[in-house]
């Protein structure tokens, strides 16, 4: 293909984005590198900025801004966060933890993350869902 022609994102990610864009639940999508490539309008309410303002970036870099920590207020390392588990261990994970949202208020959230496989050997990304309670 001509130099500079961007490849299409994997169809699974394109369809996941469309699915997420129609949800009222805050939902993030990252690609197989762990880069945040989309979050929906419901997530904008949590993060305080639209995805268009943020742009693509490593998802952990983005989520670290919200200082995720355990319910005992201990730092929650990447490998224990649902996102890290889904990305690196490629399995579904769910966790309740604390974040500091854009308004500076500490909030308890429940997060579910799961991997997306187009084929059994083709990992294409992850979906992360924030359950506001």
């Amino acid at each position: 293909m001509p130099v500079g022609t961007p490849r299409q994102k994997h169809l699974v990610l394109i369809l996941a984005r469309e699915f997420a864009s129609n949800l009222a639940t805050p939902t993030l999508i990252a690609d197989d590198r762990g880069w945040l490539i989309y979050y929906n309008e419901a997530a904008e309410a949590v993060f305080g900025r639209s995805f268009a303002e943020v742009g693509e970036m490593p998802q952990e870099e983005w989520t670290a801004r919200f200082e995720p920590r355990t319910l005992d207020s201990e730092p929650l390392p990447l490998e224990r966060r649902p996102t890290g588990i889904a990305l690196h261990e490629r399995r579904a994970a769910h966790e309740r933890f604390l974040i500091t949202s854009v308004d500076g208020v500490e909030r308890e959230v429940a997060v579910t993350a799961f991997p997306l496989f187009a084929h059994t050997d083709e990992f294409v990304g992850i979906v992360t869902i924030f359950w506001r309670e």
């Binding site: 299409q8 169809l11 394109i14 984005r17 469309e18 083709e122």
Partner: protein
């Protein structure tokens, strides 16, 4: 590169006086490269006549690229004359499936009660290939296959030489993945297949009101086909996969609608028709 359309009807063959001008055979497009390589896109009923023509021309090696295995893209394969010639080498490329190999899936149509002869018994030297995830080369062309929005594993193909490019998306519903015009090309199903191509063959099965009743069936309205071509920068659009119920007259109305939507005072977009030949530099 020369394109010859042997079948452009969607879903089911529609021979008869009402479809005479644009043809009733299902999807099949021949791509002839300058180095003599023959690529065949899909094995709808149009491939039957092509097969005889290829043997008359002495073809001994053919690459068949299948976008997917719905019947209207496969039903002609059993009657493709080169398959029944032991001197022919046939490479069949198609989308991978999570469950069965390409050969296993195609074998179903070569078995009772659908067909009396098993695929193992065909005389040609047949090799099956899952399409690679990265671009690859056949003869003098670079090929790209990407999964696209259509029910079941389905790919589109981009074929490119040093001087021209062609995108083939016969069964495609990009609007199912969101509003086409609002998205960057990498977020559009088929965006890399059709980006800046010299000519695009794209699904335009329905008028807009017909599409509203068939969302999710895997096909596009004429408006979405035009929007898609514009969003990805395709230079010329050939409307493909004609709705079986559309007579020649209705198809010409659809073409007029496409030109109105495209806002162009020229001969594009145009309807694909059987026997059409498009020469690319």
């Amino acid at each position: 590169m020369r394109l010859t359309i042997w079948g452009c009807r969607g879903s089911v063959p529609t021979p008869g006086p009402d479809t005479f001008r644009y043809g009733g055979n299902t999807s099949c497009v021949e791509v002839s490269l300058d180095d003599g390589t023959t690529l065949v896109l899909d094995a709808g009923t149009g491939i039957r006549r092509l097969g005889f023509d290829l043997l008359d021309r002495g073809a001994r090696r053919v690459h068949l690229l299948l976008t997917h295995l719905h019947l209207d893209h496969l039903e002609g394969l059993r009657f493709f004359a080169p398959l029944w010639d032991e001197q022919v080498t046939l490479d069949i490329w198609g989308p991978p499936s999570p469950l069965l190999s390409l050969r296993e899936r195609i074998s179903r149509s070569f078995s009772p009660p659908l067909f009396p002869i098993d695929l193992r018994e065909v005389p040609a030297q047949v090799t099956f290939h899952d399409v690679p995830r990265q671009p690859w080369t056949v003869g003098g062309a670079r090929l790209l296959a990407d999964l696209v929005a259509h029910p079941g594993p389905t790919v589109g193909f981009r074929i490119e030489t040093t001087t021209s490019s062609f995108g083939y998306l016969p069964d495609h519903e990009p609007a199912l993945a969101g509003t086409i015009a609002d998205r960057s090309r990498d977020w559009i199903s088929g965006g890399a297949i059709a980006g800046d191509v010299d000519i695009l063959l794209h699904d335009a099965q329905y008028f807009e009101d017909e599409y509203e009743e068939r969302i999710g069936w895997g096909h596009s309205s004429v408006a979405d086909a035009v929007a898609f071509a514009g969003a990805v920068g395709a230079r010329r659009l050939l409307l493909f996969h004609h709705e079986p119920r559309h007579t020649d007259g209705l198809l010409e109305s659809l073409e007029a609608r496409a030109r109105s939507l495209a806002g162009r005072n020229e001969d594009w977009p145009a309807l694909a028709r059987e026997g059409m030949v498009v020469e690319l530099p």
